[in-house]
Amino acid sequence: MDINQLKRIIEGMLLAAGQPIAVERIQQLFHIDERPVRSDIMDALTQIRQECADRGFELIEVASGYRFQIRQELSPWISRLWEEKPQKYSRALLETLALIAYQQPITRGEIEQVRGVAVSTSIIKTLLEREWVRVVGHREVPGRPAIYATTHKFLDYFNLMSLDQLPTLAEIRELSDENLRLDLENTKVNESSEELETESVSLDSSEGQKLEEREPEND
């Protein structure tokens, strides 16, 4: 058997197996009357390794034999194959975040008072881990509850220069009405939630305008 055919067969074996194969096993996969000697297989493996030099995968040897492996430097792209879809944050988390933004510095108890329900520890933890929120002090009352405020990262994420750029309460009430109208329209058309999402994105661009329009008010 010529070396090229040998290479092709070994390459095929390694890729089809999806796990390491020892040289002895490679040998045994050939019929007795065409079985290559060990050194021929080693030669073929060396050539295969060289030919992969500029490709997305490489031939490596591990304890149980040889296998093809995707190059380490490709992991950022490859890992996306298995990437889970990011989950959405709960309404409770968004409310908590909004209250911290608008009422900072604020304690958890104060948030709970406005929301009318307890704020779960995991929500606070998530916001702290995301570094959107930080502890800026403790209130000198029994239990010394932490006082929360938003961070620069929070402003950066939402493309804000300062908290001033957030809409006023009146605008938020308006937003709420508008949203209600939108919701009603969407229910009628019975559009998918996906489309709804897109819509909220497009509306968001008009948000920027509003923010700009409002600025003189604050000066």
């Binding site: 510095p105 002090g137 932490a146």
Partner: protein
């Protein structure tokens, strides 16, 4: 599930359908030889995918044109087969008998002399021929599909070990609008609950309050000179906002003003002390449940 499936496939694959040579040989013997081993017959019956298949076999074996079947001859052979099968008490599918009846009927109709060749009179075999052809084309199509290059037989999937990967869970994306809508909801709820409307203070004051607390938390001792809270660059408005923020913090009992000697420097001090502010949120975890303080009602909402 899997084992059941395997079993089914096993049973089905035991049919020698793929080797037509064997099939033909076996079948050719049956009507002639009277002795047929029972298990051989089972194989034969299994070989046919129903009466149409059997009929097709009989036609093809005699090298006959499907469009010109000698019904009488074929019917005799077909019934021979059925009889052999019945003799061995085979659980013969009803379809085979229906076909026998159909053949007999066609045969009898063929025997009636066609007196006047009426143009639109259909050949009694027409329906049968159509069905035979229809069946045959799919029998062929099945064979063609079987001959297609197929995964795990003619070709195999290829895979390589993926590189080491950090399986990062992507963080959820949030639209500012979602945050605002959430706030709008809270406000509507709180309005109903509290009988009076929430008023949000200017955010610049809120932000400044946070800045002062952060500065205090970062200074050792938690003391800041009063004057250091104000910056000329901020302009008059900025100074006013800073002052309002400071008043708000005092009202909330978050900071206090300290003057150690008459006409001495005024300092701002965090009520909770400097180090406390840096304590991780872990301590907050322990204080679960609403911690309502007096300052809430004054400073926060109304």
């Amino acid at each position: 599930m899997l084992t059941e499936q395997n079993k089914i496939v096993l049973n089905e694959t035991s049919q020698p359908h793929s080797s037509s040579a064997v099939q033909a040989e076996l079948l050719a013997k049956v009507p002639d030889d009277l002795y047929i081993p029972p298990d051989a017959l089972e194989v034969i019956l299994d070989t046919f995918e129903g009466p149409l298949d059997l009929l097709l076999y009989l036609i093809r074996r005699k090298n006959l044109d499907i469009l010109d079947i000698p019904v009488a001859q074929i019917t005799v052979q077909y019934i021979q087969y059925i009889e052999v099968m019945q003799n061995f008490r085979f659980d013969l599918a009803g379809e085979y008998l229906v076909m026998a009846a159909m053949l007999a009927e066609i045969k009898s109709r063929m025997l009636i002399p066609r007196e006047n060749e009426v143009e639109d009179e259909e050949d009694p075999r027409a329906e049968l021929v159509r069905r035979l052809q229809e069946y045959e084309r799919f029998k062929q199509a099945a064979q063609d599909i079987d001959d297609l290059p197929r995964m795990s037989r003619d070709t195999f999937t290829v895979s390589a070990e993926p590189p080491e990967m950090e399986r990062q869970k992507p963080l959820p994306e949030v639209d500012l609008r979602e945050v605002l809508l959430a706030l709008a909801d809270v406000i509507v709820r709180a309005d109903k609950f509290a009988h009076h409307h929430i008023q949000l203070e200017p955010l610049s004051t809120r932000e400044k309050m946070t800045h002062i607390l952060i500065r205090l938390s970062e200074i050792e001792g938690g003391f800041l000179p009063f004057v250091s809270l104000f910056k000329i660059e901020e302009g008059r408005l900025g100074v006013v906002v800073s002052f309002l923020a400071l008043l708000e913090l005092i009202k909330d009992s978050l900071v206090e003003i300290v003057q150690t000697e008459d006409e001495g420097h005024i300092h701002v001090k965090a009520r909770s002390g400097a180090t406390a502010a840096l304590v991780s949120f872990e301590s907050d975890m322990r204080t679960s449940g609403p911690t309502v303080t007096e300052s809430v009602d004054q400073g926060l909402l109304f």
